[in-house]
């Protein structure tokens, strides 16, 4: 789960990290008022769940409250990489002497938490990682003991931070790690982390993502969810225990299992079509879940045909077939449906579906070919 910059900053502040305290504005009036309150140069920053705000014009500097108002007027409502800007974060300008990058993520191959830092702050860290990897300093936290103070200091020295600023950097790095662990984050990032002209450390921008599987123990994090940033269908799917991701194509997919669902999308593409979604209906593919899946898929007006791909395993193909028939009795589907049913008792299942007038085939490739034709 992603949150906005201003929310991430709040979380970091709660864990003792010095952040640039700004105000959220949803109207130009509020932005102007915020700028007036700060009484200084401010930055007006679009709050959207995507990167590249700067390049897209979603961040503006304003020297006066009036300029802040103008900037907010321009930025609010803007579309950045498909995200509509509903809020801006107005923050006082900072006296930047030096910029750093500091981030905490999972290192999957090492199965450990990784703390990363770079003296090349304020720029895209992925670009730094690709082009000047030697500029990134890394430390793996111990999986049982955590991120040691000495590791944080070691990073600071490796970044060339002046001895009298090392303790401050190390404290922030340790707190960022603690925040990541305590809040079950999947990403905690400060970019840039700055040293001000007066020698203070300050987190000037913050980014956090959270582990969906751990939200049950973080109601306060769950409360940060911004419905405006989420696809309504995806939210509805999650409530039904269905994994759903909206895509731009025309062929709706209903599949049991995440891997098979991706493979099904790939097959559609291979046969010249474009998938309209990823959808994992779950292992059992019960009538109820399939009915819900139909509802989710048909909510997309772009969908011109539906491919149901079920591999009957523990749940037998004939049972899945009756489930699909029952689901079609509950939900009206106006586009063509191609069912691919394989596995245990698949033949009986296909026969039952054919009886009901559905196109039921044996292989995934055949099904993909047919559904692409049907959608054309």
């Amino acid at each position: 789960m992603n949150v906005h910059e201003y929310q991430a900053a709040e979380v970091l502040a709660r864990h003792g990290i010095p952040v640039n305290e700004g105000r959220v504005a949803t109207t130009p009036d509020e932005a102007e008022e915020a700028a007036r309150a700060f009484g200084s140069l401010v930055a007006v920053k679009a709050q959207v769940h995507t990167g590249g705000r700067g390049k897209a014009g979603g961040i503006a500097l304003a020297r006066t409250p009036e300029e802040a108002r103008e900037a907010a007027t321009r930025i609010l409502g803007m579309d950045i990489r498909g995200h509509k800007v509903g809020k801006v974060f107005v923050v006082p300008g900072a006296d930047i002497a030096k910029e750093f990058y500091l981030g905490v993520v999972l290192d999957r191959p090492q199965r450990r938490t990784l703390v990363m830092a770079s003296a090349e702050g304020g720029v895209d860290i992925e670009e730094v990682a690709r082009e000047r990897p030697e500029k990134i300093v890394r430390a793996l936290a111990d999986p049982l003991l955590g991120f040691h103070a000495y590791q944080a200091r070691q990073m600071a020295f490796a970044l060339g931070i002046a001895p009298d600023k090392v303790a401050g950097f190390a404290a922030i790095a340790q707190r960022l790690y603690e925040t990541y662990i305590a809040e079950d984050a999947t990403l905690a990032e400060i970019n840039p982390l700055i040293l001000t002209g007066s020698g203070e450390w300050l987190a000037l921008d913050a980014k956090m993502s959270f582990d969906d599987n751990a939200l049950f123990r973080h109601p306060d994090v769950e409360a940060l969810r911004d419905p405006a940033e989420e696809n309504a269908t995806e939210v509805e799917a999650r409530r039904s225990g269905i994994s759903f991701v909206k895509l731009d194509g025309t062929i709706g997919c209903i599949v049991n299992g995440a891997g098979l669902a991706m493979a099904t999308m790939d097959a559609v593409k291979l046969h010249g079509g474009e998938p309209a979604n990823f959808l994992d209906v779950g292992g059992g593919a019960s009538a109820e879940q399939v009915a819900k899946a139909f509802g989710l898929v048909t909510a997309d007006p772009n969908v011109r045909a539906i491919l149901i791909n079920i591999f009957g395993g523990i749940t037998r193909g004939d049972v899945v077939a009756s489930g699909i028939r029952e689901a079609l009795g509950r939900v009206e589907v106006k586009v063509p449906i191609v069912v691919r049913l394989a596995g245990t008792n698949a033949e009986e299942g296909r026969a039952s579906l054919a009886e009901a007038g559905l196109t039921a085939v044996d292989t995934m490739d055949e099904a993909a070919a047919q559904v692409v034709t049907a959608a054309a």
């Binding site: 450990r112 299992g257 991706m262 999308m265 790939d266 591999f311 395993g313 596995g343």
Partner: protein, 290 residues
């Protein structure tokens, strides 16, 4: 022969009286798996599919000599179940449970490794040595004994490929589902090492998906250490970046973990990578023919 499990495996089921646990215990017993014990706190004296239930893993191991465990307990309790199994001396633990927070799995994975035990999963379908033992939730009927070792990050996609292999007359030595989470116990490389060393495995199938770099690590390992023919498939070529595709680990982040990279890495290591699961048996036969 086979890897990890066979007819000598003495299986313990943790969470045996739950809905999932009891259903799959019955399925495993019917398949012929030597399920010797189950654990559910407070369940002592009960039986499930003829299998005796104990209160604790220590009791179950003491009474039955269980040497492998499969976990069907809810995500909040699954890490504790892994610790209980490993601390009771069980050397091989399969965790089916989906939805365990990553921050819980990081210490679990480190602990299991430090203890010299092996974890498969979590969020995996388990594994099967056809005709000998099924330790998982896969449909046993689609498998048949044979020379192909299969390792996969997914569930039903694995069944799809196994089914295709079986229909093509290519039986399996062992089929292993390593799971779709970001932090898992047994990696592709771990499974590949076992298959390479297993005399009965003559060829290997790798089924990957987007996210992480486990397939790239596998490619490096294959290039350096695997002499047996390998075919593969990578799911998620059409997946968009930044979106979790069902599995917690199936996400392209920071531009890495794409299917294209993984396919390129595997092909670079001499693996024949299929465009569609149905092509896997044919590619594997080609590879086996040399």
């Amino acid at each position: 022969m086979s890897i990890l499990i066979d007819r000598e495996t003495r299986l313990l089921v943790q969470g045996i009286t739950g809905r999932e646990g009891s259903f799959h215990t019955t399925q495993m017993v019917e398949y012929g798996t030597n399920v010797v014990a189950g654990v559910t706190p407070g369940g002592r004296g009960k039986t499930v599919a003829g299998v005796p239930v104990f209160d604790t893993v220590a009791d179950a191991v003491g009474e039955t000599g269980a040497n492998a465990s499969i976990i069907y307990v809810p995500a909040r309790f699954a890490p504790d179940a892994v610790y209980e199994a490993v601390d009771a001396g069980i050397p091989f633990v399969v965790c089916i449970t989906e939805g365990i927070p990553v921050s819980d799995m990081v210490p679990v994975a480190a602990y299991v490794k430090a203890k010299g035990a092996r974890l498969l999963g979590p969020n995996c379908p388990g594994l099967i040595t056809p005709g000998e033992a099924k330790v998982g939730i896969m449909p046993g009927s689609i498998h048949t004994p044979g020379p192909v070792g299969l390792v996969s990050r997914s569930g039903t996609l694995t069944y799809e490929v196994v089914d295709a292999l079986t229909r093509a007359g290519l039986g399996q030595s062992t089929a292993v589902g390593i799971g779709g989470d970001p932090v898992i116990g047994t990696s592709f490389v771990d499974a590949l090492r076992l298959f390479q060393d297993d005399p009965k495995t003559e060829a290997i199938v790798v089924i990957g998906e987007i996210g992480g770099s486990d397939e790239e690590d596998a490619a490096r390992f294959i290039a350096e250490h695997v002499t047996k023919p390998v075919a593969g498939f990578i799911a998620g070529q059409t997946a968009p970046p930044g979106k979790r595709m069902g599995h917690a680990g199936a996400i392209i982040s920071g531009g890495t973990g794409t299917a294209a990279e993984k396919i390129a890495a595997l092909e670079g290591a001499g693996v024949r990578v299929a465009e569609s699961p149905s092509q896997v048996p044919g590619l594997l036969r080609e590879a086996m023919a040399g």
